[in-house]
Amino acid sequence: MVTTAVPPTGSTSSRTGRNRPGGHPPGRRLRLRNTFIGWTFILPNFIGFAVLTLGPVLALFYLGFTSWNAFGQAEWVGVENFRGLLTDATFHRALLNTGYYAVLHIPLTLAASLGLALLLNTKLRGVAFFRTVAFFPYITSIVAIAVVWNMLFSPDAGVINQFLTFLGVDDPPGWTTSTDWSMPAVVIVGTWRYMGYYMLLFLAGLQAIPPELYEAARVDGANAIQRFWNVTVPGLRPTTFFITVMLTIESFKVFDLILVMTNGGPGISTLVLSQYIYRKGFEEHDFGYASSVAIVLFGICIVVTVVQFLINKRRER
């Protein structure tokens, strides 16, 4: 349904790479040559990546099966840490909270950032100013953000509740001081903070759509909504895929925002996995257990990413 209205110019349909160099009748030498050239492209980045990131990450996978207090030798304990996770109610709560945050944060941010990108991808006067404004939350110091938003959320004197009372809400929520409302409050701030960031990525993606496609669609008589669904959405697919993957992972990894906004409270109503990892590691000095939580978090992200990857592959066809 999605691609039918796009005139078959052929330029975008080959995205999956049917015409790649490897698509020629596969001579062995050619394949060897491609492998060699491919590696020369990847190597400068890969060496640094392998040593500085991949190595430590692999170490983490080992540590998840050990008991380690950051000093001296880690002691192999097998799956004991993971068995502990099965009955750890606080971990389950953190998992649930993380999911709660992600489920609210991902669609909201996606909608807000795409909306902003479409709105600001124009030649309106002052568009540079508005783009900068949208990006400002991302560059403003997180400490200042926490201070101001907490004040805005203040149950009695806060601007938000004063406004809600003005609108006739009798019993406005307690936001960051209430176990029920603290997570929605954090999600609001999270969306506000990251929408400019993802807007930027969408803006870049929008530039990659050839103008001729819009021209052609207009000639075919497609209205703005049809053009959006039939040209913009398919054209943005690589970008959207990238953004959903990044946004999902970043949502599951949410850390500093929670730390400064609520520190997991009240109670453990906003405790998330990353924070639990930090607590277990740096506060309770159980780096083995912390690593096992990180492995679970990694597993969740990978499963979700692979699903997104498969969906993306299917849509591309």
């Binding site: 950051a70 907490n150 009695d156 506060e283």
Partner: protein
């Protein structure tokens, strides 16, 4: 520029590979011998050096007595001191001497084999040094305390006079405190001043509950004794006698400005605030008013002779990665910080040292602007300070659970009894089970 970056990074990456492959294990402290003269430089970790003069004071006073040994300060972050220190110790790049900010992390450092046994130094110290026991595990001592804070009740004499309430006389129980807080709130109604202020930290409730309740044991996971302490705190904020927890957290309220700018007539707070308040009055950030500090309120009148309060000692230990001659010099330094000389030097800048004999007290109360009334003096020299954190593998995890309970109860999300009950269940299932 671009080339040099690239080559340097590539070289560094390659070097890292080689070094880890060889398992390079040269753990070395940063100090060392300076030539053949016998002069030794010992490095010491501190934080916020510009505004925390205690480390420099100790280093200078020691160097004066031992010209051969120079103490070099290494700056750490005040807020993330332990995170940085764990990383440095783990990688073998920590200084020769480092400070135990609290007892929660002392356990990790000791248990992880990151502290030299300094029992010989502890054996030479006088009996007056408080807090040594906290650093003693199975008969061996691993750090020497140089300061021993204690929680007091600060009060604003001007506001008490204005409300017509009697000053604390050193015999107050928590009930007396609550009554006074109510009276003050009513008496100061017009000027919009609260009777008392309780900061958002868990220590303000749990520290006293753990120290004063008979049979209280944080490690037991049975915390029913905390319930009455919480009920009192919740009542005080519900009736508007103290600023409520939600307002404090959402408005980033600082305790320094609450007491320093006379928004509250009383406040329980640690002894470190004395020096801060004096400095802020000097700089004009705090108002000038008559104030004093009294022993913290007690559970009942049976302990008023030697009031029970709490706070962890602050001590210094030696990094085992240090060279032998550095360790020898570091031990001399540790012996010094437990001495009366060091205590006097610290008292001069308003720090509560581990030694609080009459000479030290004389120095302390000689500071310009310090209250000199009898109750303040009594609070300084006579008290039974219990450590806030027992030295145990479970302490950090239990304190985290209790911190969650604190925010849940004080924000009004659960009743004190239910909140403590939940915390006990978590402790039993996740830590003690």
């Amino acid at each position: 520029m671009k080339r040099s970056y690239l080559t340097a990074t590539a070289t560094a990456a390659a070097a890292a590979l080689v070094l880890t492959a060889c398992g390079g294990g040269d753990d070395q402290g940063e100090g060392g011998q300076d030539g053949a003269s016998g002069a030794v430089t010992v490095s010491l970790a501190g934080w916020s050096l510009d505004t925390t003069p205690e480390f420099q004071v100790l280093a200078d006073a020691f160097h004066e007595q031992n010209p051969d040994v120079t103490i070099d300060l290494v700056e750490y972050s005040a807020d993330d001191y332990d995170t940085q220190m764990i990383a440095d110790l783990s990688a073998g790049s920590a200084p020769d001497l480092y400070v135990m900010k609290n007892l929660k992390n002392f356990f990790t450092y000791e248990d992880g084999g990151q502290l030299v046994d300094v029992s010989d130094v502890a054996g030479q110290l006088g009996d007056e040094v408080s807090g040594v026991d906290a650093y003693t595990v199975d008969g061996a001592t691993f750090a020497i305390p140089y300061r021993q804070d204690a929680w007091y009740l600060y009060y604003n004499k001007d506001l008490f006079d204005q409300a017509g309430v009697d000053y604390p006389d050193g015999s107050w129980t928590w009930d007396d405190y609550a009554d006074a807080a109510e009276e003050l709130t009513t008496g100061l109604d017009e000027s919009n001043v609260y009777g008392t202020y309780q900061h958002e930290w868990q220590s303000t409730v749990q520290g006293f509950a753990n120290a004063q309740s008979p049979g209280a044991d944080l490690l037991s996971g049975q915390w029913d004794y905390m319930v009455p302490f919480y009920e009192r705190a919740v009542d005080l904020q519900d009736e508007g006698t103290q600023l409520d927890y939600g307002s404090i957290t959402t408005n980033s309220v600082s305790y320094q400005s609450q007491f320093g700018t006379q928004k509250t007539a009383m406040m329980v707070m640690g002894s470190w605030y004395v020096a801060t308040l004096l400095a802020q009055v000097d700089s004009g950030e705090a108002d000038e008013f008559a104030w004093g500090f009294a022993p913290a309120p007690q559970l009942d009148s049976s302990t008023v002779e030697e009031p029970i309060t709490f706070a962890d000692p602050t001590g210094i230990g030696i990094n085992p990665a240090a060279d032998d001659d550095v360790v020898a010099a570091a031990k001399e330094f540790l012996a010094f910080i437990g001495s009366e000389d060091a205590a006097s030097a610290l008292a001069e800048i308003g720090i509560t040292p581990a030694v609080t004999n009459d000479t030290v007290a004389e120095t302390y109360f000689g500071i310009d602007g310090m209250p000199t009334d009898g109750v303040s003096r009594f609070a300084f020299s006579t008290h039974d300070v219990r450590p806030e954190n027992p030295v145990d593998a479970n302490t950090a995890a239990l304190q985290n659970i209790l911190e969650d309970a604190h925010s849940a109860i004080m924000s009004g999300s659960v009743s004190p009894a239910d909140g403590i009950d939940e915390a006990e269940q978590r402790a039993a299932a996740e830590v003690l089970g």
